[in-house]
Every structure is written in C-alpha cells, then in structure tokens.
C-alpha cells in the first residue's frame, strides 16, 4: 500500500513550518512521528499534497523544568517521555500512559505532540494530560498562545488548534506537595487503543483528606471527559477506600458513551467506575509514598 503522491518539505524552524502551512493551506499536513498520519495515508483516508516534516526542526524534543512546570517538547517520542527522570519523579501518571501506548515500536516513533494534535478518541495522552491540567503551546503566524487541555479537545479528531498553527510544547504544572498521579487503561485486545481509561491527580492534605482531585476519562466521549461528580465528591473528604469507591461510582454520570461490537455503552460505564477507582487508589498510594 502506497500513499497517494505528495511533496515533502523538511522544515528547519517552527516559523518556516507555519509559513509553509499558510502557503499550502488545506492541502498540507504537518508530519511528526507519522504513526497516525502515514497509516491513514496508506489507506487513502488522508491524501495531503504536501507534507511538512517537523522532525527536522531543532529544539522540539526533550523534557525540561521551567519554574514550576514540566515542559515537554512536542516532538518527544513516548519512549523518551517514559524514560525521562523528571517525568518519572514528578508525574508517574504520565509514565503510566506513555508505557501503554501501542507497542515498543510505536513508542519509539509516536510523539506526544502528534497524539495531542491528532485527538484520536482512543488515544491515551489526551486523557492523562487533561487530568494533569496540562496546557498546550501553539505557534500561529505571530506570537504564541497557550490553550488549557480542558478547552483543547473539541470533538473527534478536532481541537482548538487552527489549521496553520504548530503545537510546540506541552506544559504540565508540577503537582503540589502531597500529590499523586496515575493512569489506568482497558486496551482493546486487537488495536491496543483505549476502550476505557482513567487518569487521576490527587492532592492529599497531611490530615489525609483530599485537597484536590482531577479525574479524566477516556473512551466515553469524543475526547477526554472530566469526571466532575467524582471530583466534587472527593473534595475535603478523608481518602478512605469507602470514600474513593463512593466517589468513583459517580464517574460515568452525565456521560453517553457509544457502544460498539466489543463493548456496549453499559459495559463502558461500568468499566469507567472500576477504572476510576483504581486510578484514584493508585494516585493516593503514590501521594502517601511521596
């Protein structure tokens, strides 16, 4: 299977990539790891006339500390997110997610920015990054703007990013002292994509009660969904197994997942409750250990 013919341009700066996108308009696409785009092009689901390669732009890879924020370059591959000491130390929930995407080979090629920009409803990073209250730095024609994960994922494969913007960086605020993060996923047995997944950020007060809870779910909608009722239910309460279970039981409230041949809507809602509980428990355990 070959993609339809296209022209290839290796960009050497973000500015150049933005210029090329502006020049070629709808016919052009950015290329990062290519692990969503190339399969789609081989199946002729996408046939861009021009590909603008971002992998040749220097400075878009790696993880660095920027004040109280962990800044991850958009072109950083999953394997490097998972093996980053900074990520391992501060955001183990992100390591959980980076380690269960696809398979070893996919994790060596797919990029965090590509996953966010592509906004596949079965993707992992959008879910955990929503739980972690991440934001995304976009570079339009001039200046740059930052969009919070909560406002970024709009619909299936649709984000707040304009067609001629480049996602350059993923910024994750360092959780406060006493926090834990975790991500758990029920993968589809054939594709490995998310059937249902849950990401959690929990901050525990020294007294043991919950100071902050952010929980996001995958697989229940067109993109990540915050489990607002669960978050509210935990607020200020002691983080006992009973409290966590009761809060998790509300995780699927106000969601309307679509059933498919593998998982019915009812099953997905049930799994969401179980996986929300597991994600919160794991986050609380890490909070206690930290």
């Amino acid at each position: 299977m070959f993609p339809a013919s296209f022209g290839y341009v290796a960009a050497h700066s973000v500015e150049e990539a933005v210029q090329l996108l502006t020049k070629h308009g709808e016919d052009a696409k950015l290329l990062a790891g290519g692990h969503s785009l190339i399969p789609a092009m081989k199946l002729r689901l996408a046939s861009p006339r021009t590909l603008i390669d971002l992998a040749t732009v220097p400075g878009l890879r790696g993880v660095r500390m920027d004040g109280n924020t962990l800044a991850i370059g958009a072109l950083t591959v999953y394997a490097d997110v998972a093996s980053s000491e900074l990520v391992q130390k501060h955001l183990p929930g992100l390591v959980d997610a980076a380690s269960v995407i696809g398979d070893v080979q996919v994790r060596n090629r797919g990029t965090i920015g590509g996953s966010i920009a592509h906004a596949d409803p079965g993707a992992d990073f959008p879910v955990i990054l929503t739980a972690l209250n991440a934001s995304f730095v976009l570079q339009p024609r001039s200046g740059s703007r930052t969009v919070a994960a909560d406002d970024f994922f709009i619909d299936f494969y649709t984000t707040a990013m304009a067609a001629n913007e480049v996602l350059t960086e993923i910024r994750v605020p360092l959780p406060m002292a006493g926090s834990g993060t975790a991500y758990v996923k029920l993968p589809h047995p054939a594709s490995g994509y998310v059937v249902v997944s849950a990401g959690a950020l929990i901050t525990r007060q020294p007294s043991g009660s919950c100071a902050l809870a952010r929980v996001a779910l995958g697989g229940l909608g067109s993109g990540p969904v915050r489990a607002v009722a669960t978050e509210t239910e935990l607020q200020g309460k002691p983080l006992t197994p009973e409290v966590i279970a009761a809060a998790a039981a509300r995780a699927a409230e106000e969601t309307d997942p679509e059933g498919d041949t593998y998982a019915s809507a009812e099953y997905k809602r049930h799994v969401a409750i179980v996986y929300t509980r597991r994600a919160i428990e794991a986050a609380v355990q890490r909070a206690s250990a930290s």
């Binding site: 299977m1 070959f2 290796a10 190339i38 021009t50 070893v104 080979q105 060596n108």
Partner: protein
C-alpha cells in the same frame, strides 16, 4: 509538469548496516520498500502493511521501529540496522543463534522482525524475565503462533550474552 515539480523526488543519505547510501526517492516511498527494492535488503518483511505485525522491524538510530510506517525521506541522515547487518564476519548474533538452537521459527516470516525487536530489548534489558520478553514483543505477531519457542530463543540469547549489555 507542475505536479512533477510539486511531488519532486528527494535526495537522501542513509547508512545501512554500516554502508553509506545516497539515493533520490519519491516522497511516498516507504522505508521498508526502499530497503527491499532499492537496496535489495529483503530481510525486513512486509506482513500486514498496516503497522500491526512487526515483520518489518528494523533499528533506526538504535531503536526498533516498523519500517512500513516510516517514509524513506524520514530516515535521511539516519543509521539503520536490518537483520542482514547482525551477523559479524559470518558469526551469527546470539539472538539469531538462539532462534536456531531453540527452534524459534516455523515458516520464518515473522522472524527478522522478532529478532530485531529482541536485539533491541536485550540492549535495554540484558536479562529479561519471560514476562518482560512477552511484553517487549507485543508489537510482533507470529502467524504460526510459535511464541513459546520465540521466548525461549531470546532467553537463550540473554544467557549466552551473559546478561550483559553487549553493544555491537
């Protein structure tokens, strides 16, 4: 005419199994076809052609990747190792030897990909448990389903290499 310029072929330089190559490729050329048809290195197989099976696995700058899901132009300036590049002066790589000793193949179609993934696995984890081996091979499918012997082959290689990170 305009279309020809628009879809212009692109010059690339790659080092494959230690040998430098320069070529001019159509942008849509997939790396696996570049290796197989331009360089006559037919070790990397095309199994599924849909990024699932891992038969096309090679090392790109030292990492296992699926060459059916990479454009040849994306490999510009890269170092590539294919299964043909593993043996040194006629001496098989321990993973290749393991597959022979432990009957790690039946039809052999998945084998080059399995071996390349296993070589990468042992480079990062020289002494993997059975579970770690199975987890490490999740991107490789064997249609003959010979997984038990594949795992044993890799264990054999790990032991032969002394659990050490032998960078070759």
């Amino acid at each position: 005419m305009a279309a020809e310029i628009e879809f212009a072929a692109v010059p690339i330089k790659v080092t494959v199994n230690g040998v430098k190559h320069e070529a001019v490729v159509e942008p849509r050329t997939l790396l696996v076809y570049f290796l197989r048809e331009h360089l006559n290195l037919t070790g990397a197989h095309v199994g599924c052609d849909t990024s699932q099976c891992g038969a096309c696995t090679i090392q790109l700058n030292g990492r296992a990747v699926k060459s059916c899901t990479i454009l040849a132009v994306q490999a510009n300036e890269a170092e590539i190792t294919t299964v043909e590049g593993l043996a040194r002066e006629g001496v098989l790589h321990p993973v290749q030897e393991g597959f022979r000793e432990k009957h790690g193949l039946q039809c052999g179609y998945c084998t080059p990909g399995m071996i390349m993934t296993a070589v990468s696995l042992l480079e990062t984890n020289p002494n993997p448990t059975e579970e770690e081996i199975r987890h490490g091979l999740e991107g490789n499918l064997c249609r003959c389903t010979g997984y038990i012997n594949i795992v044993e082959s890799i264990r054999w290689a790990a032991e032969k290499m002394g659990g050490k990170n032998v960078s070759r």
